[in-house]
């Protein structure tokens, strides 16, 4: 408890390049960029594979590779290869971590749509892309968002590794604190990351409420 008071009570921690707002913004920057990139890869691929039924092995392979891939090892390797001049050594491991949950859930969401429904959509005269956009995506949306949420929370939690190679973000408090044995920094940084992850979770819950049709979530009271 004292660590927290020390950390959050210290005015020096609230301003400047090493202050909480700046670090938070950096962390947010890495995370948002990594999530956007992962979504750009995972969602179209998941939709395509789920809709056409071709290339399902890619989904399985990516899920397995991701489970086996050590984020930190990849980061170090990329720093050795690319240096620390760019953010890519940090972004690439985060994307590698986040694509699989997005890809797998998007794929499962689309593939899991009742075949009768797909049949009805084609039977009404919708074209392939219309079936995907007007029927499959809205119905699969809860799972697509679940994939994004899992990915986002994982990215936020893992983006702390950026500090390991000298880049900013909330991880700096942990890495620097451990190096200088200032444990209030370590605890404070950890708490901030946890809060950030929880906020991300909360944000996705709100997005889900706003975008998923009540007919799909069945979250609507029956009138009268």
């Amino acid at each position: 408890m004292n660590f927290l008071l020390d950390f959050f009570g210290d005015p020096a921690n609230w301003s400047g390049a090493g202050g909480i707002p700046a670090r938070l913004l950096q962390h947010l920057g890495f995370s948002a960029a990594a999530l956007a990139l992962s979504a750009l890869i995972g969602i179209p691929l998941g939709l395509l594979i789920g809709h056409t039924g071709r290339g399902a092995f890619l989904v399985v392979a990516s899920a397995n590779v991701a489970r086996a891939l050590p984020t930190l090892g990849l980061l170090v390797l990329l720093v050795l290869l690319l240096g620390t001049a760019s953010v890519w050594p940090v972004l690439i491991p985060l994307v590698a971590l986040a694509v699989p949950p997005i890809l797998v859930n998007t794929f499962e969401g689309v593939r899991g749509v009742d075949p009768e429904l797909r049949d009805a959509a084609y039977g009404m005269g919708l074209r392939g892309p219309q079936v995907l956009g007007k029927v499959l995506v809205p119905v699969a949306l809860p799972l697509i968002l679940l994939g994004l949420r899992l990915a986002a929370v994982q990215i936020v939690a893992t983006a702390a590794v950026a500090a390991y190679v000298g880049l900013g973000g909330l991880g700096r408090y942990i890495i620097d604190g451990l190096a200088t044995k200032e444990y209030d920094q370590v605890v404070g940084g950890s708490v901030l990351i946890v809060l950030f992850a929880l906020a991300t979770q909360g944000l996705f819950t709100i997005v889900q409420r706003l975008t998923v049709s009540p007919g799909v979530s069945q979250r609507v009271r029956i009138p009268r």
Partner: protein, 341 residues
Amino acid sequence: MITFDSVTKRYADGTVAVDQLSLEAPTGEITVFVGPSGCGKTTSLRMINRMIDATEGRVLLDGTDVTTIDPPTLRRGIGYVIQQAGLFPHRKIVDNVATVPYLLGWDRHKARTRAMELLERVGLDTKLAQRYPFQLSGGQQQRVGVARALAADPPVLLMDEPFSAVDPIVRTSLQDELLRLQGELHKTIVFVTHDIDEAIKLGDRVAVLRVGGRLAQLADPKTLLSQPADDFVREFLGRDRGIRRLQFVPAGRVRLADPSAAAGGWRLVTQDGRPRGWRRGDGPLEPYGTFVPGRDSLRTALDAALLTPAGCAVAVDAEGRVVGIATREALDEALAEAADG
């Protein structure tokens, strides 16, 4: 008119789903495809809107080979109703019904107005328009499915076992509703079912298919019941063909008598012209059965006579007022006449 011209569907593994099918589904009539599972009835239906393409032969829609029309364009001009309704769960009922009008580029207001009209037409409360499919019962969803198929007023309607997933009471009311709608709309309907009673009730013409996709018999229901082409059709039709055939004989043919003509001392008790029961002497009021001569079949009239110890069926008008009775002798004459054809 829909024409099957020596249509065969063979799958890559060599399975033949439909074998040299040739038949016509006339304009404005209900043609029913019926048969056991594996007889290719659904495959045949789906070849009309190109959900499946034929391997050999042609399917013609008013003389045009359907394979010359781009499938989505073709399908927008053909109503399609499937077993589980297949409503879009994320759209409100009104927008589900307006699916095809939206695809055809109607403006939103016009499409929705049309959708509301159709909901009423298929016997649904328009209050349901703003609900989602999961909030409706199976029978209501199926009505929405029919409304959706009719939304763009297509001349042709394909119905693939549309009523088989609902309970018998709802099924009967949906069937009656379909016949009533067809009386107003005169669509060219192809209806697939595995239920021979449904086929006989709904079909102007019934095509009985056997396993392997071959046509066993194509006939109107009355002919089917009286002259099955072979043992397969006879067996498929099941028991009670004689009794069931009577539902195609109008009860209007039965000679009516005055209620006083009832034999055995039975007296018809009425109130305001409507029947209350049969009574003999000072005995208790016994049950009665009624039929409407201009509307019901001889089967209904016979059934009405069997319901009561008096042995006479009471003929009533549409308002339920007694217009006469059909005595046993009169029913006998009508039965003899029906048996002669």
